[in-house]
């Protein structure tokens, strides 16, 4: 019996521990179950809460860098699948030898609403516009940025917003002008008339002009400043046929910058006539434009200059020698010409060229056209000759308004070929697209002056209906 007592004692003490253990566990179970801290986690290292982005100028710069990166790599302005190549094949600048179905649709003028490339342009454009709007509102709400910092950031964002919309309106006609990040508003936005869109563009650009400085802090002209905003505004006024304003703005630029004397220097990264260029990434170190346009082998060609473009060069034009190249296949049966403004492909190890978006030569041609329209024939001739002389050509012989306008249009073609779709936009705005393109594009229809709104967008937002005519 003694032993029983002994064990009784042991048992009791054990039981005590068990009992308290049980209580403890129950408390633990219930206690932990009701604590919400456990399910709150810190954001990871590759994510920044939006608010904090706008507390520091360095992170706002990073947010802007995203915009320029996207402009360079994706969508309408990029050298790869942008206006330079694709509106080149849509007009009479370039022939297309590749097999991409959506490119072929553009080349053959049978574009469908489901065209991937056009969908990509549309998506990227509005993604960039969202980024600009987020920066504009972020900067407005930030209490830590200085006024000067805020103005520069907001000015750049306004400029880009206007720039992207200006390309969209040229391609698609009526489009929504997006000025907020609210998806409820943007997701059901209606199309606005071309005039309204241009009003927004001009207003944004005027605001940007007030906010931006007219100096180039980067030393390489790789960020837009006040002068770039003026260059776009001059182009917008040209398209809007507001000749006085176009002349005024382009004059301001012509007074500030100088043309390069040698055509070989125009597209180098140090070129003095560049207003805004996009700096390549570390790899590629040169431009996508060179990579796409230069033909290295036949077969293997993607884009070649059309015969009509080559024929448009006058004899002795330095640009024909220096801005185009030609190549034949091994047995010499095929010879093709290609754009050679940019000479350094991605495989080069040294960075010599950047992608030029705005350059002074365009401003000369804008002013020439504006002056012609305003009746300033001699002034127009001066501007036109500045471009012609640089290309080794004699002064223009055009004297009448009509002749001069034709001469300027032709000069624009040989000066601005394979650059940002200038040829197409010129044909479109001057109403000559039909007469010129119907000869080379059997599928040409008058409605082709506008591209279709991407099919899936009409499905996603029925307020974008109706589709552009002809699609």
């Amino acid at each position: 019996m003694k032993s029983i007592n002994y064990y009784y004692y042991i048992k009791t003490s054990r039981q005590l521990t068990r009992g308290s253990l049980l209580k403890l566990l129950t408390i633990l179970l219930m206690g932990l179950a009701s604590c919400t801290d456990f399910v709150e986690v810190d954001p990871p290292k590759n994510i920044l809460i939006s608010e904090t982005v706008f507390n520091d100028p360095a992170t706002v710069e990073s947010a802007l860098a995203n915009i320029y990166f996207k402009i360079r790599e994706q969508g309408m302005v990029s050298g790869r699948n942008g206006l330079t190549t694709l509106m080149g094949i849509y007009s009479d600048d370039l022939d297309y030898f590749g097999f991409d179905a959506s490119f072929l649709e553009l080349y053959q003028h049978n574009v469908a609403g489901s065209n991937n490339t056009i969908q990509g342009w549309w998506n990227t454009a509005y993604n960039i516009i969202y980024a600009t709007n987020d920066i504009i509102s972020g900067v407005d709400n930030s209490s830590t940025l200085t006024i000067e910092e805020g103005e520069q950031f907001k000015g750049q964002a306004l400029f880009v917003r206007a720039y992207v919309h200006s390309l969209l309106v040229s391609l698609f006609g009526d489009i929504p002008y997006i000025t907020t990040t609210d998806y409820l508003v943007n997701g059901t936005a209606s199309r606005q008339s071309i005039d309204v869109v241009y009003k927004h563009i001009i207003s944004d650009l005027n605001n940007a002009l007030m906010l931006l400085e007219n100096t180039d802090d980067t030393g390489e002209r790789v960020l837009p400043n006040q002068l770039v905003a003026k260059a776009l505004l001059a182009r917008v006024y040209l398209y809007k046929e507001n000749w006085e304003m176009a002349e005024d703005l382009s004059s301001q630029l012509i007074d500030t910058y100088n043309l390069e004397a040698d055509v070989n220097d125009v597209f180098l990264k140090e070129s003095r006539e560049t207003l805004w260029q996009l700096k390549p990434g570390e790899s590629p170190r040169n431009t996508q434009e060179a990579n796409e346009l230069i033909i290295q082998f036949i077969p293997g060609q993607k884009y070649a200059l059309t015969n009509t473009l080559i024929a448009a060069f006058e004899s002795g034009d330095l640009r024909l020698d220096h801005w185009t190249g030609s190549i034949s296949n091994t047995d010499g049966t095929v010879t093709l010409a290609f754009a050679h403004k940019y000479k350094y492909t991605l495989t080069e190890t040294e960075s010599l060229e950047y992608s030029v978006i705005f350059r002074l030569a365009e401003q000369y041609l804008i002013r020439a056209e504006a002056r012609t329209q305003l009746g300033n024939i001699s002034g127009a001739q001066l501007d036109l000759n500045a471009i012609r002389n640089r290309a080794g050509l004699a002064n223009t012989t055009a004297k009448t308004k009509t002749d001069l306008l034709n001469a300027i249009l032709k000069e624009r073609r040989v000066e601005l070929f394979a650059e940002q779709g200038h040829r197409w936009f010129d044909l479109k705005r001057t109403g000559t697209a039909g007469s010129v393109l119907s000869a080379v594009k059997p599928n040409w229809q008058a409605t082709n002056v506008l591209l279709p709104i991407p099919e899936t967008e009409l499905e996603a937002n029925p307020k974008l209906l109706p589709q552009n005519p002809g699609y």
């Binding site: 048992k11 954001p43 290292k45 982005v53 990166f69 980024a131 943007n186």
Partner: protein, 1018 residues
């Protein structure tokens, strides 16, 4: 003897103490107390040893049988040779049980040697215990829908991945292998697609630990070989699995709350068994080949149609002009008499797999262990020496204290996989390459580029993709019987999944004409990813038994944290290609992705099960869940279910002898949820992309954020009838279910004008899955030498979009129709070929004379299976066992017209395209040939998106066959088995494509495999 006496005295005192301390347990304790007192009184009576041998009907020893004295907890297990020894009193009754045998009771009756012959349990219904996750339940008593597949069935299939072993065997579970390339992933859907967007993956639990089935593969690295989808479940060696249970209805899944909406798959690995230490070795070799090749054009047919196409396009005259040869090298530059069967060349090889496994297991009553190791090497059907290697180690340790109050189980799985594959799957090349395409190698043995007129497919062999995966799953479960009816239990789990992969693009894989050098072209992309998670699940289990009823209560909570990291880098520019694997030699190094995410999950769950007279069972389950994937105030959600079962065969009106031996009616209703949307979606954020502009690192807005989204809900209703006939030799389970998913948590597609393609949010749409499932098992013949059993299952699922407010004006307007399944696709209505114009015609629904999307895509086809299931038979005669299993599915799928519908384009195609229109008046089904040069409407493109590109892809497939021969026993305890297994041997189908199960023309179809193996046990 003394110890026994003492411990019992201890127990009495302990219980007396409890009596005072915890009034709540009084009743149970007093019952136990009485029982124990009774035992104490008998403890002095003399016990004597009783021994004997336990054998089955065939006279083979039954090791591991459990011999227990009725009314006591005393028991022993039989040895490997079936022998046992136990201490018992002369008037004791022995209860002898073993898995798969009918339990016997034998009165000792003063005999000292008792040899027992156990009779195999035909039906096994009584002994089958199903793992329901937090608890286990007897097959007979379950109130929920749980289907399972056991080691016996899994072992007979020579497969790599547990999901492959499940294919066709389980009702309501639809599994499709995405590619025949070793290591690739699977799509699994349990009872249909619940959510408009988002994955349909169920929750996988391996030995109690949630195991993420989401691949960490990077599309940058492996996008072209297995879609970046590498199944993490490859890490679990099918031969280490004891059973896989699939939980389907609310009763079974509600205890998993927010993660149970798509069902739960429980994988339980093997454990050691009591008995002599046993060694098992298993070696097998497998040959695999593509089971079906397409009927493609030969050179003559191909060239004829190419020329015809170019002529039809109006370019015929240019064919004669050598200046244009570069446009059509296949027609003009290449040898027009050459013919290569590219399918044979590129995917026609034989894949070899060698597999070796060794396991050691055994243990005493108190501690059992099992260690198994496996090694496997598998090659591909592709050219080159790509291969997949896998090494697994699995161990399991069980221990219980002498008084059986403390139990512990430790299980670990460690797997190392290495997969080396070409960068791209050769399958689409094999189907598309021109039949007269040039030699792969030139005379000097270098890749032939034929004057730059083609891309040599074997260049991809230079471009290596390699992935190494290390997986560790470790689980420790501990339980302690605090009181005889109260158990405290904790599961501790830890798992890591690490993936290291790279893909190289050396300049040597490109046409030298392009002038690519290692400096300007060669690159390597690496992906190092890791997922680590831990889980703690403390639980309390309380059981109380009355004379007529039994109550079980479970309370528990879960704490889980998971961290995923992904680091993708790209190195470019190397001094030479042999340094390509060394990132330090790269001239530039870009970080493409450096991300980490954290997921925290916490829950409180419970179960109450009440069983009245083994006739009426009520099962209540519930869970309160919190997840870090939701914003403040939206983190918690409640889920619960009620399950009821009526075992009407236990009612008095059914006598023991009636034909109906088992009858149960059960029903369940409840809710589950899903938080499968990715982490941090509720935050308004910018993220780092890894690029920079002008020296500034890029910060990109992540997307449109929504701080307000919450759980999505899935209400499940089920009713089932389970019947057993003739002593349960025939079992039929029939269930009907209706699952409704609402509050759909989806990326709502947005118009691009918002800046982003989608927004995550709850959407007020309801998706309904209803269906009917039948599981049938029967033992057709059973006698001493011959046994024949049959299993059959069929599922008839139906999916429907029930509610979608504002569908017409929403972004889904052209994808879904209310009242139709989510799996529909809208197509053009093809009307055949215009006999005059020779091009495809389509119905112009809106009569605007233009065939355009979406207005004219009004033809609806459903691509979900109409029904599917499997039929298996096991025949055993003496030492032979033959298993064969058929899988069947009725469905429609895209056919070869989906990929090419116009003859004459560059690239080979099906011979079906030869049946084309050639001149006005022809009424062939295929339109006129075209070289793709004419400037006309792409009618072929419309045809590819029309109902003509859909055809019946129903099939009956002999998924697995296994013939096993057990060599007559040479020596006691030495078993030798020889087996021949086949996988995917025969397919009956009208489908023309490569594989009706996976209708794709760019993925390698599943292989046909034949395995010869040898198993030794001693």
């Amino acid at each position: 003897m003394k110890n026994n006496y003492i411990s019992q005295s201890r127990r009495i005192l302990f219980f007396s103490f409890c009596l005072i301390l915890v009034p709540i347990f009084t009743e149970a304790l007093s019952i136990d107390g009485i029982l124990l007192n009774h035992h104490t009184a008998n403890a002095n009576i003399q016990q004597s040893p009783i021994h004997g041998v336990i054998k089955d009907v065939a006279g083979l020893p039954v090791p591991g049988a459990h011999i227990k004295i009725k009314g006591s907890s005393q028991g022993v297990a039989s040895d490997f040779d079936g022998s046992y020894i136990i201490l018992a009193q002369p008037n004791d009754t022995l209860i002898v049980s073993a898995l798969g045998f009918i339990t016997q009771t034998i009165v000792v009756n003063n005999v000292s040697q008792i040899n027992i012959q156990l009779i195999e349990d035909v039906t096994q219904l009584d002994v089958v215990t199903l793992n329901a996750g937090y608890y286990s339940v007897e097959e007979k008593e379950r109130t929920g829908n749980i289907v399972s597949i056991k080691a016996k069935t899994i072992e007979k299939q020579p497969v790599n991945n547990p999901l492959a072993a499940m294919q066709g065997h389980l009702s309501g579970v639809n599994i499709v292998q995405s590619s025949g390339v070793p290591g690739s992933g699977f799509d699994i859907e349990i009872r249909g697609k619940n959510f408009i967007n988002g994955v349909s993956d169920p929750l996988f639990i391996v030995d109690g630990i949630p195991f993420s089935s989401q691949s960490l593969g990077s599309f940058d690295v492996s996008g072209q070989i297995n879609n970046g989808n590498i199944s993490p479940l490859n890490a679990i060696n099918p031969s280490d699995i004891e059973s896989i249970e699939v939980l389907k209805d609310a009763d079974a899944t509600a205890i998993y709350g927010s993660r149970g909406a798509n069902g739960v798959v429980l994988i339980t690995t093997k454990k050691g068994k009591v008995g002599k230490t046993q060694f098992k070795a298993n070696m097998s070799s497998t040959l695999g080949q593509v089971s079906n090749f397409l009927d493609l054009m030969n050179t003559q047919q191909y060239l004829e149609i190419r020329k015809e196409g170019i002529n039809n396009d109006g370019f015929g005259s240019f064919l004669e002009n050598p200046a244009f040869d570069f446009i059509w090298p296949d027609v003009k530059s290449w040898d027009n008499t050459r013919y290569t069967d590219w399918q044979k060349e590129l995917i026609g090889g034989t894949a070899y797999r060698n597999n070796a496994q060794l396991s050691v297991s055994g243990g005493s009553e108190g501690t059992q262990f099992l260690i198994s190791g496996g090694y496997q090497k598998e090659t591909t059907v592709f050219p080159g020496d790509a291969n997949y290697k896998k090494a697994t180690v699995h161990s399991n340790l069980n221990h219980q204290s002498n008084d059986k109050r403390f139990k512990m189980n430790l299980s670990t799985i460690y797997t190392n996989e290495k997969n080396v594959l070409p960068r791209t799957d050769f399958t689409s090349m094999a189907y598309r390459l021109e039949p007269n395409a040039p030699e792969l190698y030139d005379d000097t043995g270098n890749l032939n580029w034929e004057n730059n007129t083609w891309d040599n497919p074997l260049a991809a062999l230079e471009e290596i993709y390699e992935v190494k995966i290390n997986t560790l799953i470790a689980n420790a479960g501990m339980s302690y019987m605090v009181f005889p009816n109260l158990e405290f239990k904790t599961n501790l789990g830890y798992n890591t999944y690490g993936l290291e992969s790279y893909r190289t693009l050396p300049s040597s894989a490109r046409n030298p004409q392009f002038g690519f050098t290692p400096q300007n072209y060669s690159s390597i992309t690496t992906n190092n990813s890791k997922r680590v998670s831990w889980i703690i699940e403390p639980q309390l289990n309380w059981t109380k038994q009355w004379e007529n009823s039994k109550l079980q209560v479970l309370l528990g909570s879960t704490f889980q944290r998971e961290r995923s990291q992904q680091f993708v880098q790209k190195g470019m520019g190397f001094p030479n290609n042999s340094l390509i694997l060394n990132l330090t030699a790269a001239e530039t190094l870009d970080v493409l992705e450096d991300s980490d995410s954290e997921y925290s999950y916490q829950a409180f769950f419970g179960r109450v099960n009440f069983n009245w007279k083994d006739k009426y069972i009520l099962n209540l389950t519930g869970r309160r869940d919190g997840s870090s994937r939701f914003g403040p105030g939206k983190q918690f959600g409640n889920f619960g279910a009620v399950g009821l079962a009526w075992l009407f065969s236990n009612e008095r009106m059914f006598s023991k002898n009636s034909i109906l031996s088992f009858g149960k009616l059960r029903a369940s209703y409840g809710s589950t949820g899903s938080d499968n949307i990715g982490d941090y979606k509720f935050l308004d954020t910018y993220h780092v992309t890894g690029f920079d502009y002008n020296g500034a690192t890029i910060l990109e807005p992540t997307g449109i954020f929504n701080p307000l989204f919450g759980w999505e809900e899935n209400i499940k209703l089920e009713a089932a009838l389970e019947l057993g006939f003739l002593q349960d030799r025939i079992l039929i389970n029939t269930s009907w279910y209706r699952n409704r998913s609402s509050n759909q948590l989806i990326g709502i597609p947005l118009a691009a004008t918002t800046g982003f393609p989608e927004l995550t949010g709850n959407f007020d749409a309801t998706v309904e899955n209803t269906g009917f499932e039948v599981d049938f098992r029967s033992v057709n013949i059973q006698n001493k030498h011959f046994k024949w059993t049959t299993t059959f299952n069929i599922s008839v699922p139906k999916n429907k979009l029930v509610k979608f407010p504002g569908l017409e004006t929403s972004t889904f307007a052209n994808r879904f129709i209310i009242g139709k399944p989510l799996t529909i696709t809208k197509l053009y209505h093809a009307l055949g070929v215009d006999t005059e114009a020779g091009v495809y015609q389509f119905e112009d629904y809106n009569e605007d004379d233009v065939i355009s999307s979406p207005q004219d895509r009004q033809w609806i086809e459903d691509l979900a299976p109409e029904f599917y299931g499997g039929l298996g038979n096991v025949l055993s005669y003496k030492n032979f066992t033959l298993d064969f299993f058929f899988q069947f599915k009725k469905q429609n799928a895209f056919n070869e017209l989906r990929f090419v519908a116009t003859p004459g384009y560059r690239g080979n195609a099906s011979v079906r395209l030869l049946d084309r229109w050639q001149q006005p008046g022809d009424s062939n089904p295929i339109e006129m040939a075209s070289g793709g040069l004419a400037l006309r409407e792409d009618t072929g493109g419309l045809q590819r998106r029309s109902q003509a590109a859909i055809s019946d892809a129903s099939f009956i497939r002999l998924r697995s066959v296994s013939l096993n021969y057990k060599l007559p026993t040479i020596r006691k305890g030495f078993d030798v088995n020889v087996y021949l297994q086949g996988q995917n041997l025969l397919t009956f189908t009208n489908y023309d494509g490569p594989d009706p199960e996976q209708p794709s023309n760019s993925q390698l179809p599943q292989l046909r495999q034949l395995t010869l193996g040898l198993q030794l046990g001693f």
